[in-house]
């Protein structure tokens, strides 16, 4: 049942230490501002789920929020490595990071199974790869009709899904369009959800390609214009490619990363309906 609140309120109410949290947005509509609020509220021991952990998860991992990462592709898209992610995996800094690693198809089916209330999904995948030997949640399954062996993946059932959308209406119906990724599945698979939006409008006019999540299937809704930055919200902002490039240097060294975090995350707060200011 949608509640329109501030971002700080949403994160405070929805996400607790030790929770399993899926922040989704497939290279579009990535909920950066919500991730920053999680860092600011110093959540710890999170199991973070995301098909494509990129800059926002590099930041959460580097800030020490995460105990475990469930994912299928971790990188700075179009640029290179995630240095904070690698530092955690290779050097356990700032703390060890447990990995549960799948393919995109596997993760997508795990979310879809969760959204469907099923304990597992079925796909043709993983066979012959090293993945099943190194990760949880993969098993053979035999077709009861043909005898063929396929792959089962365990459902994802996060405590919280976090997404960014273009708009909501006053009742809390959420609308997004463009590349829609796996956000619907993430929200429907999760017990709670936080949705940041570019704006709240009186009513949602139909849009080509739009997904609408009805108010009764959504949790907390917070207005955060530009909340996907440096990712983008189609029709509202463009990808800040320079930031993706710059992140490589910012994140390479621990101290520079810490300084960036102090200045740009801890040193800021987000207020409803306003842009970010110092606080």
């Amino acid at each position: 049942m949608a509640q329109i609140v501030t971002l700080a309120e949403a994160i405070s109410a929805a996400i607790h230490d030790g929770d399993t949290v899926a922040m989704e947005g497939f290279t579009h509509l990535i909920p950066h501002a919500a991730g920053h609020e999680v860092i600011r509220q110093r959540r710890r021991d999170l199991t973070l789920i995301r098909m494509t952990p990129d800059i926002i998860y590099d930041q959460l991992i580097g800030a020490g929020c995460a105990r475990k990462l469930i994912f299928s592709w971790a990188g700075n898209p179009g640029v290179g490595s995630l240095h904070r992610f690698r530092d955690a995996v290779q050097n356990s800094w700032p703390r060890p990071l447990e990995l549960e690693e799948h393919s995109h198809a596997g993760m997508a089916n795990r979310f879809a199974a969760g959204a469907s209330g099923l304990p597992f999904g079925v796909l043709r995948g993983y066979r012959g790869t090293s993945l099943p030997a190194h990760t949880a949640g993969v098993a053979d399954i035999v077709c009861p009709f043909t005898g063929e062996t396929l792959t089962a993946v365990s459902a994802l059932r996060p405590d919280v899904a976090v997404i960014h959308a273009q708009r909501a209406d006053k009742q809390g119906n959420v609308q997004y369009w463009g590349i829609s990724g796996v956000q619907k599945e993430a929200v429907l698979a999760s017990s709670r959800s936080v949705v940041t939006v570019e704006e709240i409008v009186d009513s949602l006019d139909p849009r080509p390609g739009a997904v609408v999540l009805p108010w009764w299937a959504v949790g907390y809704v917070a207005v955060v214009p530009g909340g996907a930055h440096p990712s983008y919200a189609l029709g509202y902002s463009v990808r800040d490619n320079d930031f993706y490039l710059a992140w490589d240097a910012i994140s390479r060294e621990r101290q520079r990363f810490a300084d960036w975090l102090d200045e740009h995350v801890y040193g800021r707060c987000v207020q409803v309906g306003q842009t970010t200011g110092e606080c």
């Binding site: 579009h28 990188g75 179009g78 393919s103 198809a105 879809a112 043709r124 790869t129 590349i179 240097a249």
Partner: protein, 297 residues
């Protein structure tokens, strides 16, 4: 006389491997450059499909990422990520999968996950699987694009992320992989194809100015060379012009500074974007450490 880089030669060669009217599941990076070049030159009806769910995208530039807005705005259809994998990729209805790789073995198996000594204690943590395992499994055929060196062309993979021909002939059918597997591997030195009997990669084409010895030295196993080795024609002026135009358009798009830059922890826009053909700092110094060469976003 035209001058061009080895990477340009590689991209042009990769583009030539795509036929007009094919459906192509495109990995980001080199595969995306090549696929877009093909569409801009000899294959205007090439259907580009990205794992972000865009079907039939017609970008006028190399997309910045597989989630570039231009892919959705120019697509015939945009579907969810579960749908693109389940309804479109998995049943084998896509003609060709175009992948990058960090490491490849003689049977064209791909590693984009970790470089030794062990999974839990890797020397280098790579980005992981992304869409590659199922692209490699399901497409009617697969092409792989990567720069060739003794480290990237490895005797043994530390991790098999995506299956080419497994242990050799018969592996794919034993594993139940319905797609045809890698039809060719395009590098910055030449082109390799699987032997029809053994499925081992054989050097079948070589670029002008590259010697077989040089390719052997850049391969981590005892490389087989085809008796009918051919020299691959250099890029035409049309190909180079089109490629450079696509890359320049991407750079321009990348340097459009978003209005929101200064709002949420952003940085002032750099004087010039380094995206596109220019390698990232990581990639230029340590190719294996760079996931930019891998598949995924």
């Amino acid at each position: 006389m035209l001058t061009y880089t080895a990477d340009e030669m590689m991209t042009v060669t990769a583009a030539r491997s795509l036929r007009d009217g094919m459906t192509c599941f495109v990995g980001i990076g080199l595969p995306s450059e090549a696929a877009n070049l093909a569409r801009a030159t000899h294959a205007p009806n090439l259907v580009l499909i990205y794992e972000s769910g865009t079907i039939g995208s017609k970008p006028g530039q190399v997309p910045l990422s597989i989630g570039d807005g231009i892919l959705a705005e120019t697509a015939d259809s945009v579907v969810s990520v579960p749908e693109i994998f389940n309804y479109w990729l998995q049943p084998g209805r896509i003609d060709i999968g175009f992948l990058g790789a960090a490491q490849l073995d003689r049977y064209a198996n791909i590693n984009t996950t970790v470089i030794g000594p062990s999974y839990d204690q890797p020397a280098v943590r790579l980005p992981g699987a992304g869409g590659a395992p199922e692209i490699a499994a399901a497409c009617r055929e697969v092409a792989v694009v990567l720069r060739q060196s003794p480290r990237t062309f490895a005797e043994r993979l530390d991790f098999v992320t995506s299956v080419g021909y497994g242990d050799g002939a018969g592996s794919r059918s034993r594993l139940g992989l319905a797609g045809g597997g890698p039809r060719l591997v395009i590098t910055d030195l030449g082109v390799l194809r699987p032997d029809q009997q053994t499925c081992e990669l054989v050097l079948t084409g070589i670029y002008a100015g590259v010697s077989v010895a040089q390719v052997r030295e850049s391969t981590g196993w005892e490389l087989r060379v085809s008796a009918e080795l051919t020299e691959i024609p250099p890029p035409t002026e049309a190909e180079l012009t089109a490629l450079r135009g696509l890359v320049a358009a991407a750079s321009q798009a990348a340097s459009r500074s978003p209005a929101s830059t200064s709002r949420v922890g952003g940085l002032p826009p750099a004087a010039s974007s380094r995206l596109g053909a220019s390698p990232s700092p990581a990639a230029s110094t340590a190719p294996l450490a760079s996931p930019a060469a891998g598949v995924g976003e």
